[in-house]
């Protein structure tokens, strides 16, 4: 399996009133044309890692890495202009919160179209067709109507699917999906993830799936990174998550209630142990 992305000692820091604070503290991983899950509690730096790969961290924030190569291209050395050719077309990212991540004054159709035509000159008709097809693919029933809606007119779950459609439509080589299905109810969630899964297997797309839902990640990924406080505490194959060794990972797993819950008290993480937040 060829290496698509290789990250070595990635650090992201922000200035605060007590000096720079690192929120990603030197993580390293490589990714082939496979599905990588990143899990970890809120604030552990998952989203920042995803953004850093796309060079989306803005000014006072600082990204450094010994190595950040995408398909042989040194991301950190790319100019803004060069990055534009990569973003969308080759790497794209499903943003975490669809409520804020969609432009409120453009219809969702226009926004999806924009993702497509930025990288590909297509006749209008073809663009339309592709959009409708894509919306249908993410299980939106009435794509024609939804394409004409504004983001505030669609529900949170629809918004997430629109977001996914928008990021999949240029058919990127690498998709970073940041909590792509948190607002969907459980049955729709499964269907949408199946589409992404399908693209990975058929087109050889790489996937980074960010979530704090361990069930979800273990089901849809090949490999899992467990992050805590900006560092990777454990890396394992998805199927072996239940055999995870790190106490933090185990803690996370144990903390989830189950449907036929019998425990009187859920075990909680002893945070002091990992010098967490």
């Amino acid at each position: 399996m060829s290496t698509l992305l290789s990250v070595q000692n990635l650090r992201v820091s922000f200035p605060t009133h007590r000096g720079r604070v690192e929120v990603v503290k030197g993580i390293s991983f490589t990714l082939g044309r496979e599905r990588l899950g990143i899990v970890g509690e809120s604030g552990s730096g998952k989203s920042m890692t995803g953004r850093a790969i796309l060079k989306l961290i803005r000014k006072p924030g600082l990204v450094t890495a010994d190595r950040l190569d995408f398909d042989g291209v040194d991301i950190l050395a790319q100019s803004e202009r060069q990055m534009r050719a990569i973003r969308g077309a080759r790497i794209s990212m499903v943003m975490q919160d669809p409520k804020f991540s969609l432009n409120p004054v453009m219809t969702v159709g226009e926004q999806i179209a924009e993702a497509l035509v930025t990288h590909e000159k297509l006749p209008r008709r073809a663009v339309n067709e592709r959009i409708l097809a894509m919306l249908e693919a993410v299980r939106i029933d009435d794509p024609q109507r939804v394409a004409g809606l504004y983001p505030q007119e669609v529900s949170g779950g629809m918004g997430q699917r629109v977001m996914i459609a928008m990021m999949l439509i240029p058919e990127p080589e690498l998709l970073i999906a940041d909590e792509p299905t948190s607002a969907l109810d459980v049955s729709v969630q499964a269907q949408v993830l199946d589409i992404i899964d399908d693209l990975v297997t058929r087109k050889g797309m790489g996937l980074i799936l960010i979530s704090h839902d361990l069930n979800l990640v273990s089901r849809y990924c090949d490999r899992i990174l467990v992050m805590n406080a900006g560092t990777v505490v454990e890396e394992c194959a998805a199927g072996e998550l239940d055999k995870a060794q790190h106490p933090y990972t185990r803690g996370l797993l144990a903390a989830m209630p189950v449907i036929d819950e019998t425990r009187d008290e859920l075990p909680v993480l002893d945070r002091t142990q990992w010098a967490g937040t």
Binding site: S42, S218, M256, V258, I259
Partner: protein, 253 residues
């Protein structure tokens, strides 16, 4: 005596009616869950009980007393609510101490210092958080503060609107444990809204499944645990949850 009883309750926002003829009876000391699809009116019912959604017809009685349509001061000491969003439910410019003292101040209750201290202990927050501002707390900590605030007036009934859905699993577990412990210690009644069935299973005695503003099924949690809900929509929810959890089914519990 029933803690909360709803009779044929209709609730509207302006011209649109979002809750249709809901009737429920929750007895004192019970922990009751409302589950169901997004937008089905779960939060709305809670808001109506609290007096924040005044446009309703039907009956609402709390601890045997009929509720008025507005927020009302006497009820404050009997019913309190905890909101979903830990980020939006705390005043950004007030310290935790101020947030917790406020209800005492409003209701003219003395010895605030000790009470605040005791309550912080009760919800498992260290005293060093006392004079922090909300932005200096994590989501879980904020939710503890929100719960503490709701308990300051020692109410009998707590309305909990998705208290953990904005939190990740590890924090969720802490909050759930806390809620469970408090209920045990103080004999509280819970009306909990959630879409997470395992949470219901952990914390509740009974549940009602809602869809499109109506209650489709009321059942005992035992039925949920054993997967014996009857209505199709309830089953759908149950199956999707089960399917997803399947991959980790062998997780040690």
């Amino acid at each position: 005596m029933s803690a909360i009883s709803l009779g044929n309750l209709d609730i509207s926002y302006g011209d649109t009616k979002v809750v249709h003829g809901v009737s429920l009876d929750i007895s004192e000391g019970e922990s009751f869950a409302l589950v169901g699809e997004s937008g089905s009116g779960k939060s709305t019912i809670l808001r109506a009980i609290a007096g924040l959604a005044p446009d309703w017809t039907g009956e609402i009685a709390v601890l045997g007393k009929a509720r008025s349509h507005g927020v009302d001061r006497d009820v404050a000491r009997q019913v309190q609510m905890v909101f979903q969003d830990p980020y939006g439910s705390l005043h950004p410019r007030k310290t935790i101490d101020a947030v917790l003292s406020e209800p005492l101040d409003i209701n003219g209750i003395g010895s605030r210092g000790e009470r605040v201290e005791a309550m912080l202990n009760a919800v498992g927050l260290d005293q060093r958080f006392r004079f922090r501002f909300p932005h200096q707390l994590s989501g879980g900590q904020r939710q503890r503060v929100a719960i503490a605030r709701a308990l300051m007036l020692e109410p009998k009934v707590l309305l909990l609107d998705e208290p953990t859905s904005a939190l990740d699993v590890s924090v969720q577990a802490e909050i759930l444990n806390l809620l469970k412990r408090l209920r045990r210690e103080q004999g509280l009644t819970y009306l909990l809204v959630t879409h997470n069935l395992p949470v219901v299973s952990f914390l509740c005695d009974r549940l009602a499944v809602m869809r499109q503003g109506r209650i489709v099924e009321v059942a005992d949690v035992a039925l949920l645990k054993s997967g014996r809900l009857v209505e199709p929509y309830s089953r759908e929810l149950l199956e999707a949850t089960a399917g997803r959890d399947a991959s980790l089914a062998d997780t040690p519990s």
